[in-house]
């Protein structure tokens, strides 16, 4: 038993403390979080735009948005990232991090657009009509009834979109970005103790995911079970 504990302490020392390695881990974590947050921000905006185009009454916009969403949702985010990095922006000097943000924003934007659409369509149209009968304008009813209800329907799926996004950012190492995954991999390679380093990395990702769930559960009122 003490042997096991000693091993762990030794591993922590070797992997995280020697040469202030934990600072490098924190830096990697910062990169991962930055890419995730920025991608989510732009992805949500893009999702909103795509969704409104997809639901527009003009046929051309509708079809175009449908096509874009289908392509973005259907292609692997890693390939999109590599195409952007090695082909589209190959000659530019844009920082790889921004290219990654673009790739993930495109991918999650498409998913979020569909999520928004399905949530909006799931709202009870009859309640909307009831609001109109109380004198609400179309826009008024949309903001008072549709948005809060669609938001509620979308919330749990939006959570998993975020968690998925965070996990998928672990592939940015392919385009020279030193994110959390790349960092722990490097440490493992350096110390020759990959088990500890990689496992430690998994723990941090787990922590991030639960932080997201925690953030979402704040402010949930009691009695509001539906």
């Amino acid at each position: 038993m003490t042997g096991f504990l000693d091993n762990i302490i030794d591993s922590i020392h070797k992997n995280l403390l020697v040469g202030d390695a934990y600072l490098i881990v924190l830096k990697g974590l910062w990169i991962t979080i930055s890419i995730s947050v920025l991608s989510l921000f732009f992805g949500t905006i893009l999702g909103g735009i795509l969704c409104s185009l997809r639901m527009s009454k003009i046929k051309l916009l509708k079809v175009a948005a449908h096509f874009v969403i289908a392509v973005l949702r259907g292609s692997p985010v890693l390939l999109i990232l590599m195409i952007l990095y090695y082909v589209v922006f190959a000659d530019s000097r844009i920082d790889a991090v921004y290219i990654a943000v673009t790739a993930f924003a495109l991918n999650s934007g498409a998913h979020i657009a569909e999520l928004m659409r399905s949530s909006l369509e799931a709202v009870d149209k009859k309640q909307l009509e009831a609001a109109r009968m109380l004198g609400f304008s179309k826009t008024g009813a949309f903001f008072a009834i549709t948005i809060p209800q669609a938001g509620k329907i979308a919330k749990p799926v939006y959570q998993s979109v975020i968690v998925n996004l965070i996990q998928w950012t672990s592939v940015v190492g392919y385009v020279t970005i030193t994110d959390l995954t790349r960092t722990v991999n490097n440490i493992g390679a350096r110390t020759g103790d990959p088990f500890f380093a990689l496992f430690f990395g998994v723990l941090i990702y787990l922590g991030l995911s639960y932080a997201v769930f925690g953030l979402f559960s704040i402010g949930r009122k009691r009695g509001e079970s539906r």
Binding site: K126, G135, F136
Partner: protein, 364 residues
């Protein structure tokens, strides 16, 4: 208050109603009755401009709301609608359901809106449910909240589209008692309903809707007691008389019994009495089968009616066969157990036969 002229509505080739003309005065309570699928709901939705009419005009307090230039939202503030399915806002609690429109549409401040809402909640008897969510309430409670929600906008007209059709009898009377209160508040009410007794009691005018329009209108006495036109007569008569035809030995007796039960419920007959009627008919039909239709295809017609005054149920059965009196049998014949039974169950019975048409009249 509401004047409708030449109003027509089609869905594709289907004419829902055509050329409706009517005038509803302030403070009137109009009950709209008629068979299902005759466009009663669409008529209401058109009055509220939720469906656009194909032609015709609707004047609410003199304003033609079919004109594009009219701000329909302002008109609807004065015109409430209560639905069969309640349609409360599921993400809000009861109090917020009621105060939402006054605050956002009428720009009332929160305190005033809530004070008013609490008054309305006590009016509908649900003040203690102010903080509940719609899904925690029964159907009758939800409907009463929906009425309160509509009243919060201080409408002058309320359209009730089958407000009790989704409710069981107890909940129905909860809701009806609230509507009864409203008739005394000077509101103009239009109600689509299948509760005929209720319509009779509260309405000062009845529209019978059929054949794509107001087929017949009049006071409750005119419509219910002395309908003039054919379809109205048939409709009113159907409410009073249950009829069923048997044209096969393997007829669907489960369906017949279920329909009898529904008919009896309208008159609040107890389960025991319903069972008696069902049992009596079953035995009578078996006796008639055994004696008249051993080979021939049966052709039996049943009519049940109930009188409120005498509280008696009358059963009339007619069948095409050789003269056969089901109440006439040799005493102590064990084979005639069924006949014995029906004779003992009936208070009064008579049978006569004319040209092979047997008629049996029984009072239960």
């Amino acid at each position: 208050m509401i004047r409708i002229s030449g109003l027509s509505k089609k869905f594709g080739d289907l004419v829902v109603f055509e050329n409706i003309n009517t005038h509803i005065l302030k403070g009137e309570c109009v009950a709209v009755i008629g068979p299902s699928g005759t466009g009663k709901s669409v008529f209401f939705r058109t009055i509220a401009m939720l469906e656009k009419p194909d032609s015709g005009h609707i004047f609410i307090k003199g304003v033609d709301i079919t004109q594009k230039a009219v701000n329909i939202n302002q008109i609807r503030e004065k015109m409430g609608m209560v639905y069969q399915g309640f349609h409360l806002f599921s993400h809000l609690n009861v109090l917020d359901n009621i105060t939402l429109a006054p605050q956002l549409v009428k720009k009332q401040n929160k305190d005033n809106a809530e004070r008013k809402a609490m008054e309305l909640l006590s009016l509908v008897g649900l003040a203690e449910k102010a903080n509940s969510y719609p899904h925690q309430l029964s159907g009758g409670q939800q409907q009463r909240i929906a009425i309160a929600r509509s009243l919060a906008m201080e409408p002058e007209i309320i359209l009730f589209d089958e407000p009790t059709s989704a409710l069981d009898p107890t909940m129905t009377s909860e809701v009806l008692s609230i509507i009864r209160k409203l008739t005394k508040m000077g509101l103009t009410l239009l109600i689509v309903t299948h509760e005929m007794n209720f319509a009779k009691e509260i309405a000062n005018r009845i529209f019978y809707i059929d054949e794509g329009g107001i087929y017949e209108e009049g006071t409750p006495t005119e419509i219910f007691d002395h309908p003039k036109k054919e379809k109205t007569k048939a409709f009113i008569n159907k409410l009073k008389v249950f009829s069923y035809q048997i044209q096969s030995r393997n007829f669907d007796h489960v369906k017949m019994n279920a329909e009898i039960e529904i008919f009896c419920q309208k008159y609040n007959l107890g389960a025991k009495q319903v069972y008696r009627i069902q049992l009596f008919l079953e035995e009578l039909i078996l006796v008639i089968f055994a004696n008249c239709f051993k080979i021939a295809t049966p052709n039996i017609e049943i009519a049940i009616s109930y009188s409120d005054e005498t509280t008696e149920t009358t059963v009339m059965v007619t069948y095409q066969a050789n003269n056969f009196n089901p109440f006439h049998f040799e005493k102590e014949d064990p084979d005639n157990l069924g006949m014995n039974l029906i004779t003992r169950m009936s208070k009064k019975y008579e049978h006569h036969c004319e040209k092979d048409l047997n008629t049996v009249h029984v009072k239960l």
